[in-house]
Symmetry: C2
């Protein structure tokens, strides 16, 4: 029997990396061999987390090779967010907290999605269900994933289950939730060394909305005006992505982690949909401030999908 | 807030009806209002079960009306097997044991699929997870669903989890597993009063295989040769379905519940795929005996899909 690989989505964020690492560990503890992997570069925020808890990043893979018997997807299910040759491999499991879309299998599988803020919250529960105690490091990884996905429990995606899990995990990990959380988010929001290309790719996800292809990139910042000093260069990279990938819309979302707002930049033939979806007017720079919007999943993708499909 | 409806697939079988009834009961016990429903006629086997345990069938619905706020799908996820206007309603949950295909949502949801033989096995587990004791009637319904889907624990789809659940549930329901199971299967296999149209619709499911539309109807019998006395009439109904629904293949599967074989009848432009998928030759009556094949899901759909997509 070949091996089992566990990985999250492309342009990995902290939940994707932490969930792959911790779930592989849980599988191994339960007697099923599995190896974590990643489909892209580790973000600065995630690197802060790995360094803090002394954990190695999973190995990078470009595609699933023939030594692999089956894969487990964490933190995503949509094929366009997964490894390029996902259509050729057997998907044994999915653990996720997103909507289900562009996903199918030929055989029954273990598919577990829950409408919570973070995959890590589900994994915390799975440890309890299996009577496995989390190590300090793994608790730290899961905690960091929750902080990252819920912007320190402030995002509308954050559920009671996420908040409870975060407090539990902070205790096991031995950190002060608020202090550690803000340090972690700030480390990720340090964008000084990022190129315009980095900014539009580091946390970009592609979606099919009706017949349209839409890419949404999100960056966290402590001061979004800093980011837009490079707006011309960012626009150039977005235009390139639009033409390379045949996108109808590229939405760049700069989220202020202290104010909990997002300053967005929209390009592509369907940018008018952004105005309708959020009831705003893009200014002459194609930008608009989305008050109180911090969640791509719950506040952006849902509204935009509605606009593209009705 | 509108109501929540729970239903299984069209052409309901015992797992679909039992799971809708028992999950609605569990939801209500846990404080969430939910009503069971069904999308088609109750089969003879299912009626035997309902009569035995003194339970009413869920109400029939043709479509989801506007009083409904959200739906929960049990025992299926593929939209073509669901209510006709499934695309217009919010799917809050899915509890299933099939492959995932032609399914998508706009929002995150609770999606639980496990590769076991029967939805009822998952529901039995969910009662334990929630600390809810099954009533004698509900245990009887879940037991009957397992017996039905696994042909009394003999199908290759039957897992250790199904077998264990069946024994547990038989104890709570106060029945002898083997005796009750055989009586129940025989009641469903009594096809004397069935018309040819009944036979090709009573447990028919449609699948998309690659670009092709395939319908597979299955009936259980104690003597399959009895069924084929009406072969000419059955063929006529199959031809009608092929032309009404634009099918590439209609496969009629008569399963011998004592011998655990299936005598199949294939019609449609793609009937050659049946020969290749099972390495058999259809005789001059378009029939072939598939030795040891009893499971549509695990032995038929997987092999045929492979043939249609490679």
């Amino acid at each position: 029997m070949g091996k089992t690989l566990i990985f999250g989505h492309k342009s990995p964020d902290t939940d994707t990396i932490a969930s792959a690492l911790v779930y592989a560990d849980l599988k191994n503890t339960l007697g099923f061999e599995a190896q974590p992997a990643r489909l892209g570069e580790v973000s600065k925020e995630t690197q802060f987390v790995l360094d803090y808890f002394g954990v190695e990043a999973p190995a990078y893979i470009e595609k699933v090779d023939e030594s692999v018997d089956s894969v487990i997807l964490v933190d995503h299910n949509e094929f366009q967010q997964s490894v390029d040759n996902i259509g050729d491999v057997r998907i044994a499991e999915v653990i996720d907290h997103h909507k289900v879309s562009n996903f199918e299998t030929k055989e029954p599988l273990y598919f577990r999605a829950e409408p919570v803020g973070c995959t890590a919250t589900i994994l915390n529960k799975m440890h309890k269900e299996n009577g496995v105690i989390l190590s300090k490091e793994n608790a730290g990884l899961l905690l960091s994933a929750i902080i990252s996905d819920t912007l320190l429990l402030k995002s509308p995606t954050c559920t009671t289950a996420d908040t409870e899990a975060a407090h539990e995990l902070a205790e096991i990990a031995g950190v002060d939730l608020d202090k550690y959380g803000l340090d972690m988010l700030k480390s990720g929001a340090d964008l000084n060394d990022k190129s315009a290309l980095d900014l539009v790719t580091m946390d970009a996800k592609e979606f099919k909305m009706g017949e349209a292809k839409v890419q949404i990139a999100q960056v966290n910042a402590v001061d979004t005006s800093q980011i837009y000093k490079a707006q011309t260069a960012i626009e150039k990279e977005m235009e390139q992505k639009i033409s390379d990938n045949g996108l109808e819309l590229f939405l760049f979302v700069a989220t202020d982690i202290l104010e909990n707002d997002s300053d967005v930049l929209a390009m592509g033939s369907a940018k008018g949909h952004v105005e309708k979806a959020f009831d705003v007017t893009l200014d002459e720079n194609n930008r608009a401030l989305l008050k109180g919007v911090v969640s791509r999943k719950k506040q952006i993708v849902t509204n935009l999908t509605e606009e593209f499909t009705t």
